[in-house]
Symmetry: C2
Subunit: 562 residues, 2 copies
């Protein structure tokens, strides 16, 4: 079947020119750009006054951060022009291992948004973590045979690279030997340490927050992925990258982005719009988001409107506004007048489905499990800093007389991280300050990067109810006086739901509002802050299933101070 789009102007990403040209599509491919006529085609579409643009590629995204399955993500991202993403299924791999990655591959098979996969390089994220799986080089290697796998995802373990940890180096060399790329993740790495890291041909970085850092990394051969996510928003600081001589070495990515932001602000289209608003060339931004991404990842025949390229293209009402009317994916209309078309969801094989839907492996909790023995006068308390993921260590004199040390007046709440992958019974217990909860408890199965169950509460009864609810349904929950007052269920690995983005966003907002109603300070994003309390790579004091970790010293520390 041949389709002719006639009368429009075409963005040529090889040259940055906009040319008047008709585009001839056969099946899933563009076969001609030029003076084709209706006689050349079976079907025609008038795109006069419109601008044709290749579909956008998000070069680095964690689908799990959207809490949506790939199909549901496609439904909200396609109208924003995202026809391809390079996903790093790091979160689900931490829960379900290789099966989690295979789930992501199956759950994205044949959907109109192309999902390329980078294999998570660091599962678990730290040696302090108890994750659902440990991915060694030999577990990863067979996955490179999957046709949508393009590389090894962000190598966060930069000390491992710098100190030539054998198992880390093997993952990198395996990827290169298979002809795949290796993405980087090395915030603030500079000078000789950066040289050591880049020496392994780690091809990109998406963690740059200053222009100097970005330019140094480009000079060392890395592509810079300009990131504009929900929390991390680096675009403004990296604007000079849109100019020569740097622009050809950059991509656009979101990394972690919430569904509400995707729906309200947009996806890659949002970054291109912003670049324009900051006075940069939108065509340059589009080149980053199309051909430059495809060529970096070695994805052939994608990212341009040219003969032989896959017919992933956008019909824009207006370039400046990146106002997308229609989206073609694989030569078929996926979005028509801004409305995404229905498509068949991929079927997941039963065994993978069961594994991802039954990812909680732990006994029911009881109050006794959360009891903290009063062994010392003072304890190390995790202090939350509003607007940040880093925490501080606060030494606090615990009032053991009352409520097992919880003291809402002083904002000393109980914190627990409950191992949920292998029924080890490990529970990290302690106290947290700065949340502001006055009654009830909150819990979640989203707790980076191992996604054990994390709980914060004002009393053990509500905490136990919350934990046992999460154990059954996954997601986020708020409990008060023994009642569940709001919840968002995330049954897929405790991370994602097969709900629409609208529904997820609504439920997400609901649980957020309900913890605020229980007293959580307005300057805190309660579930987001809680989700990072367990990530023992961000300074300073974090809680794992086996207790506190001082991240600055990279060592476990006791709850008790003498």
């Amino acid at each position: 079947m041949k389709t002719l789009l006639y009368g429009g102007s075409v963005i040529n990403v090889f040259t940055g020119e906009i040319e008047k040209a008709n585009v001839l599509i056969e099946d899933d491919k563009i076969i001609g750009v030029g003076n084709y006529t209706p006689d050349d085609a079976d079907v025609t579409e008038d795109v006069s006054e419109k601008i044709l643009c290749p579909g956008f590629i998000d070069g680095h995204i964690h689908i799990e951060s959207t809490m949506l399955t790939p199909s549901e993500l496609a439904k909200i991202s396609l109208p924003h022009g995202t026809t391809s993403i390079v996903a790093d299924p790091h979160e689900i791999a931490n829960v379900c291992g290789v099966d989690g990655i295979k789930y992501m591959i199956e759950a994205s098979e044949g959907i109109p948004m192309n999902v390329y996969i980078n294999i998570p390089s660091c599962v678990p994220a730290t040696p302090f973590d108890e994750s659902g799986a440990v991915l060694q080089a030999e577990d990863i290697k067979p996955l490179y045979k999957e046709k949508r796998v393009v590389g090894l995802a962000e190598m966060m373990n930069y000390p491992g690279v710098i100190f030539k940890d054998e198992s880390v180096i093997k993952k990198i060399t395996d990827a290169h030997n298979e002809g795949k790329i290796v993405d980087g993740h090395a915030p603030f790495l500079t000078g000789k340490d950066l040289d050591k890291y880049a020496s392994y041909l780690i091809g990109s970085d998406h963690e740059c927050s200053t222009i100097d850092e970005a330019i140094e990394k480009i000079r060392k051969g890395q592509r810079i992925m300009i990131r504009q996510g929900t929390a991390a928003r680096n675009l403004k600081d990296l604007l000079p990258l849109f100019d020569p001589p740097y622009n050809h070495r950059c991509l656009l990515v979101t990394d972690d982005r919430h569904p509400a932001d995707l729906m309200n602000e947009g996806h890659i289209d949002h970054i291109i719009r912003l670049a324009g608003q900051y006075g940069k060339s939108q065509i340059t931004a589009i080149q980053m988001a199309t051909i430059q991404a495809a060529e970096y990842f070695g994805i052939k025949g994608v990212g341009a409107i040219a003969p032989g390229y896959r017919a992933d293209l956008l019909i824009l009402n207006d370039l400046e506004a990146v106002d997308i009317k229609d989206v073609y994916s694989h030569g078929k209309k996926a979005v028509c007048d801004k409305v995404v078309k229905d498509f068949t969801k991929p079927s997941i094989n039963d065994s993978l489905s069961q594994i991802t839907l039954n990812s909680f492996h732990l006994k029911e909790l009881t109050k006794e499990d959360l009891y903290i023995e009063p062994k010392a006068d003072k304890c190390r308390v995790i202090e939350i800093i509003p607007g940040q993921l880093i925490t501080k260590e606060k030494i606090h004199k615990i009032n053991w007389e009352n409520n097992n040390g919880i003291d809402t007046k002083e904002d000393i709440l109980k914190l627990a991280v409950v191992e949920r992958h292998k029924n080890t019974g490990h529970i990290g217990l302690g106290y947290i300050n700065g949340i502001g909860l006055k009654k009830g408890a909150m819990a979640s199965s989203v707790s980076h990067d191992s996604h054990n169950i994390i709980l914060i509460g004002t009393n053990d009864e509500d905490m136990v109810i919350a934990a046992n609810h999460i154990r059954k349904f996954g997601g986020n929950v708020v409990v008060c006086n023994g009642e569940i007052i709001s919840e968002m269920r995330l049954p897929v690995a405790g991370l994602m739901a097969d709900m629409s983005a609208e529904e997820i966003a609504r439920q997400n907002e609901n649980v957020r509002l309900s913890v605020h109603s229980l007293g959580v300070n307005d300057n805190i994003e309660p579930f987001m802050n809680m989700a990072f309390v367990s990530l023992s790579v961000i300074p300073s004091l974090k809680m794992t299933t086996q207790g506190l970790v001082n991240v600055d010293k990279m060592e476990r520390v006791s709850l008790y101070c003498d």
Copy 2:
């Protein structure tokens, strides 16, 4: 072993900047660029006042055109800064098939100039040819497993692509499925035909002779290889490609280049120098000749001075003159003060050696073999046009009375193309005009693209001696009055010699002068013109082992006119 090059300025091909920096090399790799000190290294070299530049990559060259083995080519190209070439062993494949390609791989193994291989796509070049081998898709596919093979070489059979010839398309899709590139060769192809050709993601073209052609091909997604060879010199016409927005989509290549030109003018350095003389940025030219070439071919970790990159680099006395003092290849000095260092020649396995050294499979010729029957008054004569490879058809009344139709006064000489691969006894016979030989005969085993034995002579006796000499030794020979008056032996497949470039150039010049001394017109390059008389893809009238071909009509024609 760590070597520090200190005090120099480094050309950064990612950004086009020149930065003051020391370069630290460990074994064959660059591991640091920055403020390293002698304490970081075992050995140091002062490169103050010098400029460090990545080694140059020739993106498309036929080694056979230099008549040198890869080792001997390396000896003259390394001092000109060529540390990598992408070779298309099209000529030797036409003689020896897959074994010829394997010979090229073995003969270039471990030499200080890196030889990457593209597999010849069109052997034989035309259906009229009788070559030594026919390479089908299934013969080619296993070669992609060889580690220096990067793709499928110039797809000259563009009608085959346009009309979707199954065997042609299979070669292309096989290459893509193996993750390899496919190079193009489609002079003057434009518009809808170019779209059809480019639709198969044929990634490059090195045949552009006008800027309009080049820009159209860039817009269609192809890389343009700016060619400056011995005969084809396209640089001047393609100068706008050195400017944005085209420069990032270009490479530099030589295609076919004689050893004398390599020694006297240079190799890729010559093109960079010329670009500068024409007012273009030499840094841009260097980017084309380094990182852009490596990235196009998917050769990772080559083409830049950056951590993790192979230590192929040049120490320049002066950038404008591209004055190369030293060359590092794989971290070892390959050229020191402009003098190439000795290296061990690769050993070739016996069977490959025997096949390439015994490539003439035909009986001794006799005078009777060259006899032309006088069947008509007029014959179709090939007319040579000075300075061009195209020929004309000339209808000429033959004087059969005398010397079997040869008439030196009218410059009507006898021409023969003798099949030499499979002892078929096929000999194409006819007449040629425009050469000017007054006595004797000349012969060669270099006759494109099948490299049968080609002969031009004033009498059958000398022609037979010449042919039988070539049958034994390969190469070029000039015979007069029964005596060999000059020769250049090319024993390897009848195409190459294991002699130094100086010696080849000397002998080549010798045979050229000696045919001129026998009357050949000064405006003719006698052996070059003769070598293309058998190539039935260039208009208009050509001679094959089975007689004349009218290339304009793509059909065989009779010698005789009625």
